[in-house]
Subunit: 444 residues, 2 copies
């Protein structure tokens, strides 16, 4: 059955909404805050992402005839409620930090101000997408940092957790300043450079490595990157040099080689020496094969291996060392009054909030949204991007613009925060007004 994307929802959102409807509180003013409770392993920061996809989904939010038919078949909901659902659209406001902004535990990534039942029904999709995209953007930022000014390419589609994740990863790769992707569909949709070399099966499909290399260069000339480790990487490098020299005679200089296994430091040094000796100075060396930010950092910064570019797959594709974050979506205001939650270890501070970022990264301050922090040292992160269900101009921003924004911000971020291990506790302080509300909400 072809259901609409508005049915990407947990069952309890619908059962709760039906009770709100019955009890005539479905339209109560509410605010929900979406944030991460704690930072996952190896992370001193997260990069917020996913906002644009959410705003599009919210604008299109409505249940189709088929959705309603399917819901009716469940036998859980009465006709009155289903009729009410049939007319529902999202009419709320969204305040959010810009995509590409560094965020820390406890800081709202976005807040939804909407009629209670609406705000409830959108929870699952919002959590799913903000979680996925923030996890991936954070991971990609680490790889980008490790690779410094080298070429870095997204080769992960084959091992992302499904197709949606693969497409979002490529979008995020562009957003975070990677140099290309192997993902054809996402490359086309997001106007991002496609790149790729060849598979071992290609080399095996010809009588010899020599034949395979020559066939590829005949077809792609200066774009050819030859994969040298199908058999023995040293022999492969030597063969690549012969092929490159052969075509160089006719003025075609190939792009380079890719090494996918073995000792990447030794092999890249060997290849660089041989290239230069052969007068093939323009040839580049690309490497791949289970690379992550730790191994890339080692190759680039510690070993100073003469590698020009990296293709990264599964470790980036699933954010292997931290594949999930504990995002939550919590009611913080109802009928204009701040509300909180006091469960052990899972408390939520009451009130609509604003995050004030310190310009010198000395520490952020969380205030109520209506408070005006007049310090020049801090600026507010959450801005209204959707008003009464319609995106405003702040919501329209290109991936290139997000990338520029991210990079301007990144230049100011202290090295401590950029570390690849958990080494730094960024300071987050609640304003006095929030502390007072916590005290009143959670009386001893």
């Amino acid at each position: 059955m072809e259901l609409s994307n508005s049915l990407i929802v947990d069952f309890y959102e619908l059962t709760m909404a039906s009770v709100y409807y019955k009890d005539q509180i479905a339209n109560s003013d509410s605010t929900f805050s979406l944030f991460v409770r704690s930072l996952p392993p190896n992370r001193n920061y997260l990069v917020a992402a996913g906002l644009q996809d959410i705003l599009v989904w919210l604008e299109e939010f409505r249940f189709s005839e088929q959705d309603l038919h399917a819901l009716k078949q469940l036998g859980t909901f009465d006709d009155q409620f289903l009729h009410w659902l049939s007319e529902l659209t999202f009419t709320g406001n969204v305040r959010a930090v810009r995509e590409g902004t560094l965020v820390f535990a406890g800081e709202p990534i976005l807040e939804i101000q909407a009629p209670l039942a609406q705000a409830q029904l959108i929870e699952t999709f919002l959590l799913n997408q903000i979680t996925l995209q923030t996890v991936l953007a954070t991971k990609v930022s680490r790889l980008r940092h490790a690779a410094k000014d080298k070429i870095l390419m997204d080769f992960a589609l084959r091992r992302t957790q499904g197709i949606d994740a693969g497409m979002k990863l490529t979008k995020i790769s562009k957003m975070m300043g990677l140099n290309g992707t192997s993902n054809v569909m996402a490359g086309i949709n997001y106007n991002f450079d496609l790149s790729g070399t060849m598979a071992h099966s290609f080399v095996q499909s010809y009588k010899s490595e020599k034949d395979a290399f020559e066939a590829y260069v005949r077809a792609f000339g200066k774009d050819a990157i030859l994969l040298v480790d199908t058999f023995d990487p040293l022999t492969g490098i030597d063969q690549a040099i012969k092929t490159a020299k052969y075509f160089a005679q006719n003025g075609t200089f190939i792009r380079g080689i890719r090494i996918d296994s073995g000792d990447l430091v030794a092999l890249s040094n060997y290849a660089r020496q041989q290239f230069d000796k052969a007068g093939l100075n323009s040839l580049s060396i690309y490497v791949s094969g289970g690379l992550d930010e730790f191994s890339i950092d080692n190759l680039v910064r510690v070993q100073k291996a003469p590698i020009d570019g990296f293709g990264v797959g599964y470790s980036m594709g699933v954010s292997q060392d931290a594949p999930v974050i504990d995002t939550v979506y919590k009611l913080v205001s109802l009928d204009g009054k701040p509300v909180g939650k006091t469960s052990p270890k899972k408390a939520v501070a009451p009130g609509e909030k604003q995050v004030w970022r310190s310009r010198d990264w000395s520490g952020d301050i969380i205030t109520l949204s209506k408070e005006n922090l007049s310090y020049k040292s801090h600026y507010p992160l959450l801005e209204e991007v959707m008003t009464k269900g319609t995106r405003n101009k702040l919501a329209y921003i290109s991936l290139d613009d997000i990338n520029s924004y991210f990079e301007r911000q990144w230049e100011t971020v202290p090295l401590d925060i950029k570390e690849f291990t958990k080494s730094f506790q960024y300071s987050i302080t609640n304003s006095d007004s929030i502390e007072k509300l916590i005290k009143n909400n959670f009386p001893k």
Copy 2:
């Protein structure tokens, strides 16, 4: 742009295919073998999954007008090749292990026998889906094992890596014998029981916990499960008992409570005692909140906590301790001749293969596909499910049938293999014919 799913492909598959086309080897007979190189952390086995989705995709494989238009715009491919692509369908054979079958490192999960360019073009999608679904099915099997005969529910949609992963997880949850899901769209599409309780925000949306509980029971009666830890879990349990007793007077016995935080052993024991004391013996206790196979095993087997059901989210949803596996798709035969690959640590044994499972789990034997192992102690795992691009009847199997098959198999699996940590090395032996090919292919 609306591109077809056939463009879920890595760029190099297309560039390689174009060279095969140019060199007139696009239609060479080839066989590719898809397998996992090594088992990830904590895993003694994997559960193969994803086959049905792949077969449907292969049957629908063709490039649309829009795909071809977008490819032309890239400027990489000539018109002849694009015309050839426009007429391409998948005409190959697929041999695969049944979904739900335990597999080990090095054992083919499926083999594709097809014209070379076709087999190459389908690589990315096959790897993506087999990887995702095998990772998830393996994780779900561990949770199912840990929860024994208790109720186990998929609550993961909000934190799976995207929507595709969320939908596939629910399908797999049904396949592996879970008892329900929170995922409305997948529940409807896969005809799987929907379940859910309430969120903390629901409790906060009423004047008191008492009012919230009563509102929910008024709406859902015997299906109501009350979430008791919005404020203090002990007070919440006491209030749930009062509410349950109040409605029991009129003959409505609610289903139970959910505890989402705190000391689950102490709280579940307290709740069980109070329920039984109050004559509410039929009430069930559900728990949730960051549970994985290790914590569930502790609650069920070690602590013997009186818990009736578990709702599991992110640890299952992303297979947190092992979010990826190193699946590969390798050319093993070309023009009827076995081919292999000798790169360091990434060698591939030549030849089309069959896996022979030992009935007593003493160890599997991998042979060439044409070999007939006449031992009664072993049976072949790979069977032809698609012939010349069309699924045959073995490919049509319901999720319930996969579940029955999995459970019959699971009963015979030794406890060593089922352990939650890497404690066992299952024996896999190559047949003499394969060993001979390896020797010939990789001469010393």
